[in-house]
Subunit: 501 residues, 2 copies
């Protein structure tokens, strides 16, 4: 079988991926090291790359390459003795075509304006957050909302504007389906919290150096490869892939929250180990869609698995308690550590939130976004609306914008439609964990034996290795033999509550 | 005056500069953070950028833009009431045309091969240095030498092959002129060293944290702006500019050499403050040749000025001694610190070398390079030749390749023709310092008063602000009213010897 057209398309995709990874390098540097005044030139660089990427992803040349490869595939399909491989190839082509159409519908001027607005949005958000003043961010936020609504219209998908913006994160997501997933949570979580009988918070802290050391020990415990995985510092923790053998995460120290960087490290590790397990290394789908994460919900399920199912488990506290003591932790026993890690309280901060209230944070953002993008809510009303909804759902109210509507980075870069993935991740993680335990035994036992490699092996073979060959809901169905349901997560919360009391 | 053609050319140059600064960001990351296994993908990224840059710098479009801007300039020249500005514009055009011709003569395939070879050269050099085994580096080094000789031939300049490779660093440099500068040094320095009566080396060290703190205090003393200037760590210290408001330097700790990172910090600061003073910020020559450094010799003169004339002065030791004591330094008084900073000894390491023997290190590299590029010396003979010449000129012999011919990064990236700039920098720094003292008083007095801003102001107005509007030798002539001479530097060494005894 001649693969000339196929290889030509592959070479084109590789160059696109080189540019994408350069974009990621610029982003990494911007967040981990760049001096403040470098921001405006960085914005020029990112704008340039975004423009070139858009040109490549919407060019006639690309369209022809996809079409030629498709024709070649159709001609040879019947003769192939490896139908599975042909099916994967078809899916690659279909995903490329779908994204091509999405990109091509966009006005290049809009793409350039968006890149600039994202960069300026991020810059002004940083200042606004520092000064706790939403008004500094407002004009740039308004511009971002306007441009992204325009973008949704230009794509003119079969979906509503907000659904359209959510598609890249969660393919085929609809508001109706999302409501089916989230409504039971909205109804249950508030009830669970009310029933909770939480002991007082144990106030303790660790030096930044001790926290750094613990994070490092955690990653060693999980078996990181230092030659392809590094850790940096940034205001907001994230995970990013800069090349097929170049994985990075960041964390940051929060004063008075000795577990914050530790939990963030576990979380970002989960993202990174998913990326590390994708079929992109020395593999036929490197640089192709199938080598990518299938959805942000799946991505989050992986980070949340390591954060919530591993680090927040009782067996983990038991295993790691000595290291905390050596680091200067003043708690008396591992159960105190476990309770501290799982401390449940309606707080204002999403990233620091416990598993219970986390979902409520997401519900607020999701509903606000939908109102902003398709409900006519003016951007200037965000602080008031934010505070109102926090009071309604969590019974607390931010005292300023910095701990309120400015806390998250996402909107500063115009990323709408992303937040639901965090909560879907909880649901997926719970349902997958259930299956994992049926396959390889109790997660608690695996942790107690330090058998993380067995867990990673299971995840790799049941989740990671699929890349985008199936979409997220198909993947859940394949692995767990049923549709995604919110009830595994609710069960998990209930059992933790019982364990706690 | 319509400037349409001029502005079009400016927009083109800006985009080129964006790409160049992206290249610098990739380079920065590669040296300061990238995980080891990221190297091969980084090489793909750098190869891609090099290819695009070469395309841009040798395209018909660029040629036409330069030509149109030139024609526009000629047509309006006579009517202009600002002849000085027109002269600067002309120089911009001439420099662009000169570089364009240089680039255009290169085969794009060679450019791509070179980019790959540089990246692989750097990678293999790191391993070879670590294992102290030149043979690991040899095949990649041979490839680099071959490709760069080929490059020199393709450029087919009026210069010899080695001269051709040296032109980007030191425009208009010839072997004959260089010999006139270096020969007196070769004859004098050995004599000076023989006459020296050096006391025994004072062995002391500082913790990495203390060294880090001292470097930070040094930069505060010099008045760095933390919002546009940051410091990283890398195996080999360097200075780099990532944007018009984004300047960075690196340093590294050497065990047993408590002053190494401190001197490197002063050195790289000198490079950076030159870049910061170039006419590239909110200025008409931003993105144009006139906004760049005029030569590497001038660049080095700036770094060496801060290292040798400032930090190695007696007055600086007097002023900074208390901070060294606070950092845990065990010396008894500032004179001991001064002697330690100025400790003279024929050593094997160029970067750690004193002002006296430094020149000999450069002479060896320069002569080896010339022999490699145009004298028929085989690359495989480098270790033996290196060791032989060190024994002849400095009376010492490396015990392995790592402390011998593998010590410097330059050849690993195929950078031939750069080393002489270090020694020319010494010459220029000495001659410029002489003029500075005539203009604003003794440097020692300025240091004693902590008046670094006056020094920076003088440097900015007499050196930095000129950018490439004059070449290096014209600049020396303009500032000092005479041709560059090796004797200011020799005088400086003599007076230090006297002071020392």
């Amino acid at each position: 079988m001649s693969e000339t057209q196929w290889n030509k398309l592959g070479a084109y995709l590789k160059e696109t991926q080189i540019l994408g990874s350069i974009q990621n390098t610029l982003y990494w540097d911007q967040n981990t090291g760049m001096p403040k005044k470098g921001a405006s030139w960085r914005s020029e660089q990112l704008t340039y790359i975004a423009k070139v990427l858009h040109q490549r992803n919407s060019s006639e040349e690309f369209c022809n390459l996809i079409q030629s490869a498709k024709n070649e595939l159709l001609n040879t399909e019947a003769n192939s003795d490896n139908q599975l491989f042909v099916k994967d190839k078809e899916r690659n082509i279909n995903l490329l075509m779908k994204e091509f159409n999405r990109e091509r519908n966009l006005d290049p001027k809009l793409v350039e304006s968006l890149a600039k607005a994202k960069s300026k949005g991020y810059e002004s958000w940083q200042e606004a957050k520092k000064k706790s003043n939403f008004k500094i961010f407002l004009p740039f936020f308004e511009e971002l909302v306007k441009l992204r609504i325009e973008e949704a219209k230009q794509i003119s998908y079969e979906y509503s504007p907000w659904e359209t913006l959510a598609q890249p994160f969660e393919p085929e997501l609809t508001l109706k389906w999302l409501n089916n997933m989230f409504q039971p949570l909205k109804e249950t979580i508030s009830g669970l919290i009310r029933d909770m009988n939480q002991s007082k918070k144990n106030h303790w802290d660790l030096s930044p150096q001790s926290q750094h050391n613990l994070c490092s020990q955690l990653l060693d415990e999980f078996g990181r490869d230092k030659d392809l995985f590094i850790v940096g510092k940034s205001p907001h923790p994230f995970s990013i892939t800069l090349g097929p053998n170049d994985y990075r995460i960041t964390t940051r120290i929060v004063k008075g929250e000795p577990l914050s960087s530790f939990l963030a490290t576990a979380h970002e590790w989960g993202h990174s180990i998913y990326e590390q397990g994708l079929p992109s290394q020395s593999h036929q789908w490197f640089a192709w869609p199938l080598g990518q994460a299938t959805s942000m919900g799946i991505h989050e399920s992986q980070s949340l698995f390591w954060e919530n199912r591993i680090v927040k488990s009782k067996s983990f506290s038991k295993r790691f308690f000595k290291k905390f003591v050596s680091a200067g932790c003043s708690l008396n026993n591992y159960l105190e550590l476990w309770k501290s890690i799982n401390y449940l309280e309606a707080g204002l901060n999403r990233v620091e939130a416990d598993e219970f209230t986390y979902g409520l944070h997401i519900l607020i953002r999701t509903e606000l976004e939908i109102d902003l993008i398709e409900g006519g809510l003016p951007a200037k009303d965000i602080p008031d609306e934010w505070n109102k909804r926090y009071e309604q759902l969590l019974g607390i109210k931010p005292s300023n914008d910095s701990e309120g509507c400015l806390q998250d980075v996402h909107w500063s870069e115009g990323a709408f439609g992303y937040f639901p993935s965090y909560l879907l991740g909880h649901l997926i993680s719970a349902q997958i964990s259930n299956q994992m335990e049926r396959d390889i035994g109790l997660i608690d036992d695996l942790i107690e034996n330090g058998d993380y490699q067995r867990i990673i092996f299971w995840l790799k073979n049941n989740i990671h290795k699929y890349g985008r060959s199936v979409n997220s809901m198909e993947l859940v169905r394949t692995v767990t033999n049923e549709e995604l349901s919110p009830y595994y997560f609710i069960d998990h919360l209930r059992s933790k509550i019982n364990d706690f009391c």
